[in-house]
Symmetry: C2
Subunit: 365 residues, 2 copies
């Protein structure tokens, strides 16, 4: 049943999922064991699905170490919907601006959507550094009256990751964790809102997790479209209208795997750190040939982004990788180059295969 190409999928997302999850999904497509029905034909109003949502919420709270003061929502629309839904919920046209960091491609997508809804202050931009590094603390002068601070924990395209918490505890801290959610322990109780689409670390495209500290709900305007109102989604346990049952069930299976098979986020982080360390070591050892893009202190453990001396060599490398059964290693269309994404489900063995390929390719050229 196993597919060797899935094991070697280094795609930036949608990414690899655990083999055991794919096998359970194959079964459930035809006959979900508890109901005897196809997963795709089970009512979202059934007791079975209510239990799926409940366990998914509980798993995410348990993995993050937060209590029931934190709502776990399973929404549609991707992180892109959150780019708008957050300012629609929290910005006032005549109020103080929210603080936004511009650290790369994806935080750059959030900014114009926020500006459509209200005032925004650009707290820091990495544009003049070609988004090759993240800010130091002394470069960040947080406003005390901002309705919130918005930043991204991991820039998927450039391969930059914050290895610390930003902001101040008296301003709601909002973080897009789409590409490193549940990849390492975080101080989740210090965020007002965390959001992450599923298709990197926790499931397929089509569902987005929002972890929201309950007091934030008091700041919402009286009237919003229902589907964009965190209050109605929280009250309905994400079952306001028909939710994406297949995608949510997959998130359940992945969070079960994280909690029970892997053993939690500390263990997951240890595995992820080992994978990234191996890859960066090979790149650093070949520093005359491989050029990692990110400043060393800000290197992402999820997306290892690098260049070769010439675009022609990059094409040659991609061809060698494809021939060896590896896929998804081309860089994002916005910046080119190469990118190896090492999400939770990508195994250390797969990274070792890539490391050997990188080592051999350099020796041959």
């Amino acid at each position: 049943m196993s597919n060797p190409r899935n094991r070697l999928n280094f795609s930036g997302g949608p990414g690899a999922l655990p083999e055991s999850v794919l096998q359970q999904l194959q079964t459930a497509i035809q006959c979900e064991p508890d109901t005897g029905l196809s997963l795709l034909g089970i009512s979202h109003r059934s007791d079975w699905f209510a239990a799926v949502v409940q366990e998914t919420e509980d798993n995410i709270r348990h993995l993050l170490g937060v209590d029931r003061d934190h709502h776990v929502l399973l929404l549609q629309g991707g992180a892109t919907q959150q780019f708008s839904q957050i300012p629609m919920s929290l910005l006032r046209r005549d109020g103080p601006p929210a603080d936004y960091l511009h650290t790369g491609y994806w935080s750059g997508k959030a900014l114009p959507e926020a500006r459509k809804e209200g005032p925004v202050r650009l707290l820091w931009s990495g544009a003049e550094h070609a988004f090759s590094r993240l800010p130091d603390d002394h470069e960040l002068d947080y406003a005390a009256d901002a309705p919130y601070l918005h930043y991204i924990s991991n820039e998927t395209v450039e391969g930059l990751q914050f290895h610390r918490l930003l902001g101040r505890d008296d301003v709601p801290r909002i973080c897009d964790m789409s590409s490193d959610f549940l990849s390492r322990p975080i101080a989740a109780d210090r965020y007002a809102l965390i959001y992450a689409h599923a298709q990197k670390n926790i499931g397929p495209a089509g569902v987005t997790v929002v972890v929201l500290h309950a007091p934030l709900l008091d700041r919402l305007p009286a009237e919003l479209p229902s589907f964009l109102d965190y209050r109605s989604q929280a009250a309905a346990h994400s079952n306001l209208n028909t939710p994406p049952v297949f995608a949510i069930y997959t998130v359940l299976l992945v969070t079960r795997w994280l909690r029970h098979d892997i053993g939690g986020l500390a263990k997951m982080a240890e595995i992820n750190a080992g994978k990234a360390a191996l890859l960066y070591r090979v790149l650093d050892e070949g520093a005359d040939f491989y050029r990692p893009r990110a400043a060393v202190a800000d290197r992402s453990q999820m997306n290892v982004v690098f260049n070769l001396p010439t675009p022609a060599l990059e094409r040659d490398f991609l061809a060698s990788a494809t021939a060896a059964g590896l896929s998804g290693l081309q860089g994002h269309r916005a910046i080119g180059g190469l990118r190896a994404s090492l999400y939770n489900a990508l195994t250390p063995d797969a990274v070792a295969t890539l490391a050997t390929l990188l080592h051999d390719f350099r020796r041959r050229h």
Copy 2:
């Protein structure tokens, strides 16, 4: 591989899908044949996925008999998102009201969302008839200056279906076809916008089809959140941000089945009409016992809603049905009773099984 319970799933939605589609999905979860990758790990920016979207768009246009003046969008958020997105796009706070029909549970959900965005006129309401019938033409006095007319072609909960086109050709006609989309031929070129979530006739929960006549785009306000802007979604062929790849691929498989295996909407409608006729005949023959809810002229061919003499008998019938392997026959939680949903993928054989059960149950009581 086949699962007999799927064949007998009469759920109001998510509903049954064709057996051949479930089998292709099982394969693709582990290894999609063209790419060699898990369907869940294929990039939405790949040539493969661009071809999936292209063929899905083409299939839907072909089945509906419309040309490339009609955009086919594959969006997230369900019909509920459309309840808001349509008025956000077309209502002006200081302009004339849109005409809305209130014919049952779901059109009743669309109304308050529209009222949040701008002026709305209630053209007709079935409330005083307990939503047991639809309006006649002489009851509908359409406004010539309305920015659009909004109605639902099939009320899933009450089992009411329009068997004619409403409105006037000089006012944009907007129709929620969530529960009868692609179940019969329609004059699709006479609608400005048709929308339908997938989970009745064409796929799993998590994707919504919008068929939009291009000139409507000229009426949109200058600035909208990107994910709610039909223009940006049309320009990006629904790939503005990561789309729900699994759900869209399933819609491709179902529209292929409709186009190539069934042979188009005229043939599908003939099959659906036969299924509904059989069931209503059994109910009418037992009119001393079974009470179909809808006025005869407005009976839905998708959702057959009926009562038994007492709630206790309804519970008995559901128990008999469950024992016989039939599922999903309980009525919607809003109104109770019984409901048999006969979506495209439900086979005539399955309806014959239910008809026999109904016939026998009446004889026994």
